[in-house]
């Protein structure tokens, strides 16, 4: 070491950290290696951003502290960035980089890109569709069960057609059921509905049952119990008049179910025991074909039918409801009734509940009484229930006429 030149060549180890940088010698290399060597040492350096390592570091620390930053932030950004770099250069247009100046060039590039995208989409669709179609076609060709199904369906339809024929034969009789009213009858009914005068004026009086119908009762939309009871009496008279045309039925009035089941002690046979004496009816319930029991549910009328010939119970609710409790009560009743009156023992617990699916249903809130009467009417004729909501207007008029004339047809 030359002691004469300590300032010019200071010892490196002793240099203070805040000392000014040494001037570079002009004859020394200005940096390490040549540009070609530099590139070789850092092959990615021009592609990577300067803060490349910050990505994962930041993510790492924030991950440690459970930070709110999305975990994927660094990696996702990097991936997106790499993708953008690796994409075909023709796809990245001037429009995206925001440096596009030439309108003509830009639009042409747009078109090419759209066309390319559409071509890609179209090819994907065309590829995916034939696959499952082809698979389905093959499955169909292989699966001959489908053919069997088709044959079964045809057989079933033929069988159903055979069943429907008798119904159609019965429907021939419907012309009488839907017979339009004559002008006179129409006028009479209209007068009763719209006539002036005191509403308590008695229109008709049914002598045997002592039911009188005032205009007030007649005009109400929902047939009250008196109208129902009167019509049931008329149906009974009709059956007595023409026993051959109608099934032998018994029509309980609207009080029956209430008395039987809704007393203070629930089910009570004794309270209705005297209702069906032979002396009074002239027949026993066991001889009947069907027994109709109107069931009143607060504001709604339903119908229960005891079919004595088929040994079934039926419950018809024009709102589509079902009440097994009612049928259980009636099963108990009919067993006791037959035992009491005819001294026979029948086992009603084995009787089926005949549930009918396609009964006509009411579409409004006030036709339940009318529906119930018509269920009874059609069943007492032994017909299927082939009426609909739209027939109700006619049935109302027709029932009104029948009540006014005190004769059901």
């Amino acid at each position: 070491m030359n002691p004469a030149t300590p300032d010019l060549l200071p010892e490196r180890r002793k240099r203070r950290f805040d000392a000014p940088p040494l001037p570079r010698r002009f004859d020394a290399p200005q940096s390490h290696g040549r540009p070609s060597q530099r590139r070789r040492r850092w092959p990615f350096s021009p592609l990577l951003p300067e803060n490349f390592f910050a990505f994962d570091m930041g993510n790492f620390i924030s991950g440690l502290f459970g930070g709110r930053r999305p975990k994927d932030d660094g990696l996702g950004f990097y991936k997106g960035w790499c993708d953008a770099r690796s994409r075909d250069l023709t796809v990245i247009t001037d429009e995206e980089t925001g440096t596009g100046q030439h309108l003509l060039g830009r639009t042409t590039k747009d078109w090419s890109r759209k066309a390319a995208l559409e071509a890609v989409k179209g090819s994907q669709r065309q590829k995916s569709e034939p696959f499952y179609k082809k698979a389905l076609g093959e499955a169909r060709r292989n699966d001959n069960r489908l053919e069997e199904r088709g044959i079964k369906v045809r057989l079933e339809e033929e069988r159903l057609a055979g069943i429907r024929k008798p119904y159609k034969a019965a429907e021939e009789d419907l012309s009488e059921l839907f017979k339009p009213l004559t002008d006179e009858e129409e006028k009479e009914v209209h007068d009763c509905f719209h006539a002036r005068g005191p509403s308590s004026k008695v229109l008709v009086l049914h002598e045997p049952s002592n039911i009188e119908v005032s205009k007030e009762k007649f005009q109400c939309l929902i047939p009250g119990r008196w109208l129902l009871n009167l019509y049931l009496e008329l149906l009974k008279e009709r059956e007595k008049r023409e026993p051959k045309r109608f099934l032998k039925c018994h029509f309980f009035n609207t009080f029956f179910y209430k008395k039987l089941a809704c007393g203070k002690n629930g089910y009570d046979y004794k309270s209705v025991k005297r209702w069906t004496t032979r002396r009074k009816l002239g027949y026993d319930l066991i001889e009947c074909n069907k027994i109709f029991v109107p069931v009143h549910k607060d504001v709604h009328w339903c119908l229960a039918i005891i079919n004595m010939k088929k040994n079934t119970f039926q419950y018809l609710d024009s709102l589509g409801g079902m009440d097994h409790n009612v049928l259980n009560m009636l099963a108990r009743y009919i067993a006791e009734e037959v035992k009491d009156k005819s001294n026979e023992v029948i086992d009603t617990s084995s009787w089926q509940e005949d549930i009918v699916d396609d009964i006509p249903l009411q579409q409004n809130g006030w036709d339940c009484g009318m529906f119930m009467l018509k269920y009874i009417d059609f069943h007492s004729r032994g017909l299927s229930l082939s009426f609909r909501q739209k027939d109700m207007e006619y049935f109302r008029k027709r029932t009104a006429k029948e009540i006014l004339k005190l004769r059901a047809d």
């Binding site: 002592n210 007393g263 309270s271 209702w275 069906t276």
Partner: protein
């Protein structure tokens, strides 16, 4: 001229002897039982009044009285018209 006293006496003899009384029972859905004893030719309104007196929550005149389940009784009628007998039961319903 006053009529002879023998005729008056004879009229009294001709008078029919009093009818037998029948006992009617009224039952309603609340479980009330009302008994009423009356003559065959009396008006049934008497039974109904007796029922209404025992059932204060039933509005007077709103009840319906049925015999044997299907015959409606009215106050102006008599038991004889419907053939009511002793110990017969009349059902009462509150009219809706």
């Amino acid at each position: 001229m006053s009529p002879p006293p023998e005729q008056d006496r004879r009229l009294g003899v001709v008078k029919p002897e009093p009818e037998p009384m029948i006992k009617l029972k009224v039952l309603d859905n609340e479980g009330r039982r009302v008994f009423h004893t009356m003559r065959m030719s009396d008006k049934l309104q008497a039974v109904m009044d007796a029922y209404y007196a025992k059932a204060p929550d039933v509005t007077y005149g709103s009840g319906t009285f049925m015999f044997d389940g299907s015959i409606r009784l009215r106050g102006s009628e008599t038991p004889a018209e419907h053939g009511l007998q002793d110990d017969d039961v009349i059902d009462s319903y509150e009219d809706l």
